[in-house]
């Protein structure tokens, strides 16, 4: 997605990133498994997933991470890059259910010629339960002096 460059001068701690809602389908899980070469059967074989104690196939933690990564890069624009990215999986999500991706800015720092922005990230399920938490550190080059 093409995004306008982020104007770091307007970024403040506490800013919310525009949320994104995903409805991952079983087909998307399979596409992701193929693209990421994640061959764990719990993401495409319902019988196997049930045998492993899940209600059915579950959304890959790393797909949720990828959604959160997209949230960050869409917001931060094409000049920026993600220096650090971390996610923890606290609950499972099932395909067909909405998955809301959110983020807020927790720190903005000028480092030499760069602007370093820390973002807290999480996903919510349909009940508002947090199923993934994470952080990203985004670097916007050439934004140190203003």
């Amino acid at each position: 997605m093409t995004v306008a460059a982020l104007d770091v001068d307007t970024v403040r701690v506490g800013d919310a990133l525009p949320p994104a809602v995903h409805f991952p389908t079983p087909g998307q899980l399979v596409r992701y498994s193929g693209a990421a070469r994640d061959w764990s059967d719990i993401h495409f074989d319902p019988d196997h997933a049930r045998k492993r104690g899940f209600p059915g196939v579950i959304v890959q933690g790393l797909l949720k991470a990828a959604f959160l990564g997209e949230l960050v890069t869409d917001w931060a624009g094409s000049r920026s890059w993600v220096r650090r990215f971390a996610t923890r999986y606290r609950g499972i999500d099932l395909p067909g259910d909405p998955l809301v991706c959110r983020g807020t800015v927790t720190s903005v720092e000028r480092v030499l010629e760069e602007c370093w922005i820390e973002i807290e990230l999480w996903t919510e399920n349909r009940n508002g339960g947090v199923t993934t938490t994470g952080e990203a550190l985004v670097v916007v080059p050439g934004a140190g002096l203003s």
Binding site: Y32, G34, A36
Partner: protein
């Protein structure tokens, strides 16, 4: 070496070997078991065998060694009994195998009943037997039924467990982006940017290029959940299309703890991603957890 708590119903590492008349002559000398048809092809032929007949006691000795290697420093082979069902001849390949059929705990030990066998020509079983192996219990084993020590060894904890080189291709990146965002790179269009979680597509364990802990798939207890617990990545620079990345995977921790779902086994691994010049591109860490219900035994898994 096998530590207590790790003795589950499963196969032992087997052995394959071919024995010569010279081997049997040496065995006859030490075992004092020198009947002619064991050491002399001519004498064997006179008795109707094609070649010398392998000593039953030699096969039992190999099984004892296999059991001893498996038992390791913490275990003692207390009993081995063998039934000889058919003769094996020299120069043919023999396979020695075993599997744990049951385990039980005593005050300061865990006992494993092991079924053993030898197969010779046409995969026919020529010897079958059973053994009892006693493992010393160590503190903390009472609460554990997971083979933590064995997993640590299997994944070569603390050492580089594997190195794999991957080329970052535009098509692979495009497919990854499409899978996540639904945005499709059109033919002729510039390649999409490599997303921050693309490190996952270069993970030898996710890709199953490195699969060291398969033994966890064969434990007697049902799995009641699990998956990735966390992912982290630190980039020195973004991954770019055209990069040729060598990934070195090291397991940094294997541990267990109690969780809501059951007994949890965590394996933490770290990947170092380096480019063709050897420069560090990124370091990623992944924690994977499997949950087991230790209070029940999954019949389907036993003896697999």
């Amino acid at each position: 070496m096998t530590s207590t708590g790790s003795v589950a119903a499963r196969g032992l590492p087997g052995l394959r070997t071919r024995v010569t008349t010279a081997d049997l002559t040496r065995w006859a000398a030490v075992a004092g078991h020198d009947t002619a048809f064991h050491v002399d092809d001519e004498a064997a032929r006179e008795m109707g065998f094609e070649r010398s007949v392998v000593h039953g006691s030699w096969k039992a000795a190999v099984l004892l060694r296999m059991l001893g290697d498996w038992a390791g420093e913490d275990g003692v082979v207390e009993r081995l009994s063998c039934q000889y069902r058919r003769p094996d001849l020299t120069e043919q390949e023999l396979s020695f195998g075993g599997e744990v059929v049951s385990t039980r705990r005593e005050a300061d030990a865990q006992l494993a009943e092991v079924r053993v066998w030898v197969t010779g020509a046409e995969d026919e079983v020529s010897l079958q037997g059973d053994a009892l192996v006693r493992f010393a219990a160590s503190p903390g084993d009472e609460t554990s039924g997971l083979p933590v020590a064995e997993v640590r060894r299997a994944v070569r904890l603390g050492e580089v467990a594997g190195r794999f080189t991957y080329r970052v291709e535009a098509n692979d990146v495009d497919r990854f982006v499409e899978a996540v965002t639904g945005v499709r790179a059109l033919p002729g269009q510039a390649t999409l940017r490599v997303p921050p979680t693309f490190f996952a597509a270069l993970d030898p364990v996710e890709r199953r290029d490195l699969d060291l802990d398969d033994l966890l798939q064969h434990l007697p207890h049902p799995m009641v959940g699990g998956g990735n617990a966390f992912n982290e990545v630190d980039y020195e620079r973004p991954i770019r299309v055209g990069d040729v990345i060598t990934v070195a995977t090291t397991y940094t921790d294997v541990f267990e703890k109690d969780g809501r779902a059951g007994r949890l086994l965590f394996r933490i691994r770290e990947n170092e991603l380096r480019d063709e010049t050897g420069a560090l591109v990124a370091t990623s860490r992944c924690g994977h957890v499997l949950a087991f219900d230790l209070t029940s035994v999954d019949d389907e898994r036993v003896g697999r």
